[in-house]
């Protein structure tokens, strides 16, 4: 083996390269790698957090939906009840109105009939008087017989 000063030259070069690597290569590369590792870890953690948040949001959305459904059902129930009530009230009011109208109709009819009766009575009275006048034209004084006729009319 031919050992010579190359040995020393190589040792010196080795030392220089190692120091260069230690000072200018290793730290920036390592810090870049570590910074990226931290970033990735952060990213993974936040992704996990987001998943958890999403689960929570879904759960609360389901709850709210259930609440809303229940509320809607109760509102529909109340509306149905109210409808039935309104219909009942309307029915009652209509009944009353009908009764009232019928009653007034009866009253009107009654009044009409009374008036007709009265007319009829007047006409009968007139007719009776006319007839009696014809019969009694010659014998009876009109004024004297009038009270009898009145009496007749009252009996009708």
């Amino acid at each position: 083996m031919n050992l010579n000063a190359t040995l020393l030259g190589q040792s010196i070069a080795f030392a220089v390269f190692v120091i260069f690597c230690m000072k200018y290569i290793w730290p920036p590369l390592m810090s870049a790698i570590e910074a990226r590792q931290a970033k990735i870890a952060d990213g993974l953690a936040s992704a996990e957090r987001a998943t958890k948040d999403l689960e929570l949001a879904q759960a609360s959305a389901t709850d709210q939906l259930k609440d809303a459904k229940a509320q809607a059902a109760s509102i529909v129930d109340a509306a149905n009840k109210r409808k039935a009530q309104i219909v009942d009230e309307a029915k009652t009011a209509a009944m009353t109105e009908r009764d009232k109208i019928i009653a007034s109709g009866y009253a009107e009819v009654e009044a009409e009939r009374n008036r007709a009766k009265e007319d009829l009575r007047q006409q009968v009275a007139t007719l009776a008087i006319a007839g009696a006048e014809k019969i009694l034209e010659r014998s009876i004084d009109e004024a004297a017989a009038n009270d009898i006729v009145e009496k007749l009319v009252g009996e009708l």
Partner: protein, 261 residues
């Protein structure tokens, strides 16, 4: 490409010897000369590593990264998790050290996959006689790195356990009795020194053997093509595996240095 095509030496032995010869500068009879080709390629690839990773690190975004940034980050995280699994102390040095070792050695080993004649031929054309392009097939390079690691092991041992603790570890194990101190010392020193030597030689041996097989395949003439492909495919595994082993053992040795027994 066969030996005769290179325009270099004629026999197979000469061809291989020529390819195994470093471009040396300095006083070759003493220690004080260098394998210029190994150093140039090793430092060049080190600068390439620094440039690529630095350019990504400068633009690194904490948001969605680009494909290249992702690739670099995967490498960094692979090294980081390997280090964290093995080294339990706290150190700002170990992880960048491991990254540098891993990527740099992969780059240097990958030079083995360039066809063995291309760069030597190009350099010969440019007038340079010898050129070895795979730095990790040079024991100076691998041992230079492993001895640096060894230095760090000693440094951490003393820093974590103190000089006394380190001395005690060398002298009071495995036989905890004062009479055994010389025996312990010999055993522990052998174990300690074996670590950087085996670390460096393992990488060197693997890459040297791989390169040697590329040379032998290159001698086959036209039949080298399918064989080269097969061996290169297999060698990709060796390239990465050896880089990983070097990094892993570095981390293991350093964590052993930091731990109290």
């Amino acid at each position: 490409m066969s030996a005769s095509d290179t325009g270099g030496p004629q026999t197979s032995g000469d061809y291989i010897t020529h390819h195994l010869h470093n471009l040396q500068v300095g006083d070759t009879s003493s220690f004080w000369h260098v394998n210029l080709d190994s150093l140039i390629f090793s430092i060049g690839l080190g600068i390439l590593f620094c440039w690529i990773f630095r350019s990504v690190a400068k633009k690194a975004t904490t948001g969605v990264p680009g494909k290249f940034q992702t690739f670099i980050e995967m490498t960094v995280e692979f090294v980081d998790s390997t280090v964290k699994d093995t080294f339990h102390g706290k150190s700002a040095l170990i992880a960048p050290l491991s990254l540098t070792i891993f990527v740099w050695i992969i780059f240097m080993n990958t030079m083995d996959l360039i066809p063995v004649d291309w760069l030597p031929m190009a350099s010969q054309a440019a007038g340079v006689e010898y050129m070895r392009v795979v730095p990790t097939t040079d024991p100076n390079i691998t041992l230079g790195m492993s001895f640096s690691v060894f230095f760090l092991m000693i440094f951490y041992s003393i820093k974590m356990k103190g000089l006394g603790g380190f001395a005690k570890e060398l002298t009071m194990q495995p036989f905890n009795h004062w009479a055994f101190i010389p025996v312990n010392l010999v055993m522990e020193l052998v174990a300690l020194i074996a670590k950087p030597i085996s670390l460096g030689l393992r990488l060197f041996g693997n890459m040297y053997a791989g390169e040697m097989i590329f040379f032998l395949i290159a001698l086959l003439g036209v039949w080298q093509l399918p064989l080269h492909f097969v061996w290169a495919t297999f060698h990709i595994m060796v390239v990465i595996l050896q880089a990983f082993i070097f990094m892993m053992l570095t981390v293991v040795y350093l964590s052993m240095s930091c731990e109290d027994h």
